[in-house]
Amino acid sequence: MHKVNLPLGTRDGFGKRESKKYHIKTEIEKKLLENNFMKVSTPLLEHKEVFADFDLKQMGTYQLLDSNDDSLILRPDLTLPLARFLATNNVKLPQRFYYVGERFKISKALSGKYNQMTQAGIEIVGYPSIRAELECMLLINQISTEFLQGKVQIELGHAQFANSILDELTQDELLKKQIKTELFRKNMPKYLAYISVFKDRKEYEFLEKWPRLFGNISWVLRKIKEYVLPEKAQQIINELTQVTSWLEQLPNQKVLLDLSVAPPQNYYTGITFKGFMESISEYVFSGGRYDQLLENFQEQAEPAVGMGIDLEILADFSTISVQKERKDLLYYQPNQLGLVNKILNEHKFELSMEDDLKKAFIAARRQNTKLYMIDEGGNLRNVTEDCFD
């Protein structure tokens, strides 16, 4: 016997879930193509260096060697390959791109998590305008409306907010990093220990409250008014407030603010946004602005906004039904193949695999569909009601 068990963290796709996933993927692609997004497919394998901006140690990745003994990696992310692609293919910018593909991250073994995930995403490159962010969030709203009963909440943050506070507080880079890490991880015992050196400063009250500054926009804004923020932090708040008011024009769109959230990756530089639903313990959408990303692959930086869409969660939680009616069966003789070809151009049938009409009849009954055959004159005949007993 051959080994039959799957590698840890992998699974097969089939049946209802797979067709649902395919349907959602197709609909999203259709929508993006209609909006003039350019599709980009990059290979599953990349050189390890492409992901230098990723914390590869913390994130388990599949790595292998090619014939030159170069380290290759099964891509854990699709944004960095796209940045590599843009730097090397003389593609005209500005431009809006989309991708759909597999990404691989090794989760903790035996934890019930999967290592191969299908992700879709868009990258809007070369536009400094807030319209890039708005287009992403509009897409979140549309996908939410179409597939998730409009239940997705958008959570806004900003990659520079933490720095805008900490830069005014101290010059100690290590301490800043430690505070940020524990703030983002919301490890309160450690966070409180690190900020305790500022106990006598007027900012301490804000620091103490900071990890809780997330949630309902008006609540967060009311809370934040109690403190005097550095000018840069205040600017960020104003920007986020503005964006919120625009987003609230979208149907059923609940918007939240999180001032204590980590940017999804280190390379983010501006507004960040995530989409989640009550009762799902993962984010469905995640994105933001990263204006320096391309600098790592070419000399010139480009403004860019991108967003990833988790197709696995959409497939798991979407309430749409893709169950289609079964097609009727067509029974035919091998010497009628030319006729079958003509018929299939006009009608939709599932071709019967049975070698005799009686068996075809039983099969049609079993799957509760009609049975057709081609008679000697070359015409279609419905034989569902004919008796073969």
Partner: protein, 213 residues
């Protein structure tokens, strides 16, 4: 919407129930749980499940519970990524390096260390600039140096009684351990008010306890 709380079975069960009761959580059903695995409070606000420590982290990570109450030893060993909101100040103990009297930490060669906590052990010896062979043991770790399986052990101890009774001596003190209140990241987003309300009540109780001391 009730809060789902995974509580570590055993040693810390009683002091946690004491804390929760003082914080105004109706713990009577929890005290009279008999063989039930899922226990609801009568007001429907909380649902408790009792689990082994490492499983509490698994439940937390998969998002099937909102809150986990579990020791920091397990959180460190399992590389916790969920939000550690509060140190409950109970279940206090400490990691130690212990062995028999003849153990020499700086003796030539590679030490063999028995432990339930391979990650913490490895990190500790790395910080000393030493490479050791770690043997994972599931229980009665104290046995390892006594029967010659390992040169020493890294384990947690509360009072040191078990170590002493087995003629083991502490050679070094590592991190302190206590019970933590941990929230699933997404749950905190979805149920911030309920979770923080419980955190605040617990914090008050803990502060009062410290004052009385």
């Amino acid at each position: 919407m009730s809060l789902k709380i995974a509580l570590t079975k055993g040693r810390i069960e009683e002091p946690v129930i004491e804390l929760l009761t003082a914080a105004g959580v109706d713990c009577e059903p929890l005290k009279n749980k008999k063989r039930k695995l899922i226990i609801n409070t009568s007001d429907g606000e909380y649902q408790f499940i009792l689990a082994k420590g490492p499983d509490v982290t698994t439940y937390l990570n998969s998002g099937v519970v909102d809150i986990g109450i579990v020791g920091s030893d397990i959180l460190t060993e399992h590389r916790n990524e969920q939000y550690e909101l509060l140190d409950l100040g109970i279940g206090k103990c400490q990691f130690v390096l212990a062995s028999t009297t003849d153990f020499e930490i700086n003796k030539e060669g590679r030490r063999v260390i028995g432990t339930k906590y391979p990650l913490i052990t490895q990190k500790y010896f790395e910080s000393l600039g030493q490479d050791v062979e770690v043997i994972k043991i599931e229980g009665s770790v104290e046995l390892a140096p006594l029967i010659g399986l390992a040169d020493a052990i890294v384990d947690i101890t509360e009072t040191g009684t078990t170590l002493r009774e087995n003629n083991l001596f502490v050679y070094d003190y590592l991190d302190k351990v206590s019970t933590r209140f941990v929230a699933n990241r997404m749950s905190l987003k979805q149920k911030a008010r309920e979770i923080y309300s419980l955190v605040d009540k617990l914090e008050k109780v803990i502060k009062n306890k410290e004052l009385i001391k």
